[in-house]
Symmetry: none
Subunit: 539 residues, 2 copies
């Protein structure tokens, strides 16, 4: 091993500066759990001095009992000509009760004059006082040297003086930031080499992607002696984003042989990257390195015949190492590994010679081809598997639905739905209003079912996401609707795909209700009992 490198994730702080990225407190808590499981060392959760949403996150994240990652609060050095003890921003960090703080200060003389408009001496005092104050209060302190590389290029003595001040004050880490993302790898390499020869405090790197070099700059810094990499999942972040940890981690671990996370954690990388893109509602590029669905896809005939002989002819690593898989675009075999995993989890015998299994694989291939994706929709996948391996009871069948939406000038929109379903041989017909077409449909369906399934009152939808699949064809394009439901004991997700948003929503809605009414939400808690009850155990 080449040494250990710690990962400092700032998806929840710097990542949310990216255009189109907006995370609720719930979203942030979900992502924090995934990051912890992935094995990152620090999770920067937000800036408690800047908004109340971030304070709520820090309060609620304590209940999650993370196994490994240190929750870290972000903030700036104290204001000029004040005492650190009186600085509201620094005190807010103490109040939220975190283990670590990342404090940024100025390294570039130009910035000291232009942005904060104070003297070079006062800036040094601001750094020293702020780090010292947090250290005295028992926190681990990461000092983020903002614009360090630009500062070093313009005035190396002063840039070095700022980080020496942080070291003197007891900082545990000094992270060198390429804030504007304009520095090239050979410059990073030379400057980090110089810094590590002068500073004994461990060094981190915080790179941005403005020159499409965020990953390369992070690697260059580590090879020059840095031992912490700051970045975000999928490279989300302001402007062109931060260094993409999803590429940095496998490069460090598989190529440069650093000790970063465990092999099992690395094998969850593709799942984590997709999960975060779903939660953030950001499109994940198919060609994203390591984890994109095309990262190990082969199209050219020559390449395909060569990889059939030996996959290392056109693949730089085994895709399974990062939880991805090989795809041959002419004969797709996607989804099978998910399916193997899921069926094994349900205690079923996944035998590819079995007729049920063959049909199931065909069905899932066809659905994936249509745009279905089961990564964020476990409940839909489970229903498909259970339908294939055993006969599930029919909860209800649809006869028809009609939706009307009408608006006149300045009046609010009126949405109504009429639903006709068949439950245990009886036709039920009902209508309801709603705040929108899908809500009206949901309400009307519930009115039809509640008499037969009073349990339906215990569940409700807790998240609803819409993703356009072929963005070029827009309002006529296919949409994928993801619905998350909860009955207070558990949470499950379902998916529907159609050219029509109403039809896609209907599919996801029906699966969500079926899953609950068939009692499958309790499978997770008592798997054996539920499997038995549902006739899914192999005897």
């Amino acid at each position: 091993m080449a040494g250990t490198v710690k990962i400092f994730d700032t998806t929840l702080r710097d990542g949310t500066q990216g255009e189109g990225v907006s995370l609720s407190v719930e979203d942030k808590l979900k992502i924090a759990q995934k990051l912890d499981a992935l094995g990152v060392s620090y999770i920067e959760g937000g800036w408690p001095g800047s908004n109340n949403k971030d304070i709520e996150f820090f309060m609620r994240v304590k209940e999650l009992k993370l196994s490994h990652a240190k929750i870290t609060a972000f903030g700036s050095t104290r204001r000029k000509e004040t005492l650190a003890e009186n600085d509201p921003n620094l005190n807010r960090i103490l109040e939220v009760g975190v283990q670590a703080a990342a404090i940024f200060g100025k390294s570039w003389d130009f910035q000291v004059h232009t942005a904060i408009q104070t003297t070079l001496e006062e800036n040094l005092a601001m750094i020293y006082d702020s780090v010292r104050f947090l250290k005295k209060n028992g926190l681990e302190v990461i000092y983020d040297a903002e614009h360090f590389f630009d500062g070093y290029k313009s005035n190396p003595e002063y840039a070095l003086a700022t980080i020496k001040k942080a070291e003197e004050a007891g900082a545990d880490w000094i992270a060198l930031c390429d804030t504007n993302g304009g520095t090239l790898p050979h410059e990073i390499s030379a400057i980090v080499t110089k810094v590590t020869s002068l500073i004994s405090c461990p060094i981190g790197i915080h790179a941005h992607n403005d020159c499409e070099l965020g990953v390369a700059n992070s690697l260059a810094a580590v090879m020059a002696g840095a031992r912490q990499v700051q970045g975000t999942i999928n490279g989300y972040g302001e402007r062109c984003g931060n260094a993409n940890l999803v590429s940095v981690v496998p490069n460090l671990q598989l190529k440069l042989k650093y000790d970063v996370i465990s092999a099992e954690q690395l094998a969850s990388l593709s799942t984590v990257a997709r999960y975060v893109s779903e939660i953030a509602n950001m499109h994940m590029p198919v060609n994203q390195p390591y984890v994109g669905s095309a990262a190990f896809a082969h199209k050219g005939g020559i390449h395909v015949s060569a990889i059939l002989r030996d996959s290392s002819t056109y693949e730089h690593i085994k895709p399974e190492l990062v939880g991805n898989k090989q795809r041959v675009l002419v004969s797709e075999l996607a989804g099978q590994s998910n399916l193997v995993f899921k069926t094994q989890e349900l205690g079923l015998d996944f035998d590819t010679n079995n007729q049920q299994t063959k049909q199931l694989i065909e069905q899932i291939k066809e659905m994936e081809h249509q745009g279905y994706q089961f990564e964020g929709a476990d409940a839909t996948l489970e229903l498909l598997i259970r339908d294939a391996y055993g006969k599930l009871d029919e909860v209800f069948t649809l006869d028809s639905f009609k939706i009307m939406v009408a608006k006149s000038a300045d009046q609010p929109v009126l949405s109504e739905a009429i639903v006709k379903v068949n439950v245990h041989g009886k036709t039920i017909y009902n209508a309801a209003e709603g705040n929108g077409p899908v809500n009206a449909l949901d309400n009307a369906l519930r009115k039809c079912l509640v008499e037969y399934y009073p349990d339906i009152n215990n569940m409700h939808l807790s998240d609803y996401k819409v993703r356009v699949l072929d963005e070029k064809d827009t309002t006529a394009a296919k949409v994928r609707v993801l619905i998350e439901s909860t009955d207070f004991n558990s949470t499950w997700s379902t998916v529907g795909v159609s050219e029509n948003i109403i039809e896609a929503s209907w599919h996801a809605l029906v699966d969500s209700i079926r899953y609950a009414l068939l009692g499958m939400t309790r499978v997770a808690d008592k798997p054996e009992e539920s499997r038995e009850r549902l006739g899914l155990v192999n005897h």
Copy 2:
């Protein structure tokens, strides 16, 4: 200047191997003209030995009379145990009448044994004979050493022997290919340094992006002595794509001071990148380095107040150098300074004592409170500001709309919309079908407007995003709809918020059409003229 670097573009050949990229002959001809104007030295147009579409391209591209770029045909070395003179693939290259040919051959002993299954000696003869044959027939020859870096790492003597053979046969260039994209910059640097010390033929680099290092590897090779870079526009290409020329070129020219293309050509980079993404029908990421619409966008309030003082505080280059522009995103994280910036950009006087300004701030605060977010919706923000500071023409007003969505059992969903609008005092009433309720609405509205505004046919929606704002209340929760539209010259985004997805879509749709029909999409090109025309100049 650090020297001259030639650009070898393979968007039309390797780029089309990317998942989702498919170009007709017409598309390829259009792109070839843009590439020529951009100043690339070589345009690799396709593989004449592999398909007739590529042959048609080579025949028709001659009529275009390109000013500078050399049209290049791709092909492989001759088949084993045959004569180059009799090789159909090599003869096809001569038949299409190009100035240059790029011929690939094997450098990696493992590949010689596994993929082409011949002896190491025969492979050397295949390289020599093929290059020699094309040179004798008067072509400039680029020898592409496939898998060179993997080959060199496994058997350096043999890898070097293959390129020495190509040099001996008279190759004009030897391009070292990192075919699997698995090599790191420090390895590229060491190997290219070694090769340039042993070979006098000029060296090129062909990198892939599998480790998110395609750009870094291209720069490393140039700094080690390579003088040709192969890549594609926007990094299209197999798996994770090829080296992205849109980032490579400004890095070489602006940062490393190589002579690549002229300053005027560089200033067309953003336009070319967007044009190619439109033609290839690929979504262009907002955060794409240098040319993405968010590449110089600022969200955080602190950053915004600093760039108001000096833009170099948070921008690594002046965006105009690559034909891009600075943008300030208005969002919850930002303060009033973002709005100040936006109004200044429009040439308006942002005076907080002014009654119009006070009302505008109140209105935006109220809308943000309702769930509006303007960071991804510049056009809606601009309409609000212009409405506040000057009276904009009314394009049309809504009388009413009605939408019907119906589904019976296994039938597909039917969506219809009826729209009644008022244009210049006349009531227009029209109906249309669609693939979903919003598409039906969009279609019906366009049918109403096209007679008065034929320009509406030049714009189309290019992205449609839906986000649920309060996930606790789901299908009854508020939704934010973000629409991106384009008229091929520019792209603009609008937003709508409502509890009803149809109403939210309607707001975004109406803003998108108003923005286009008021001629505001041309403001970016001729700001003064448009401001004047729209009555927005402060006299």
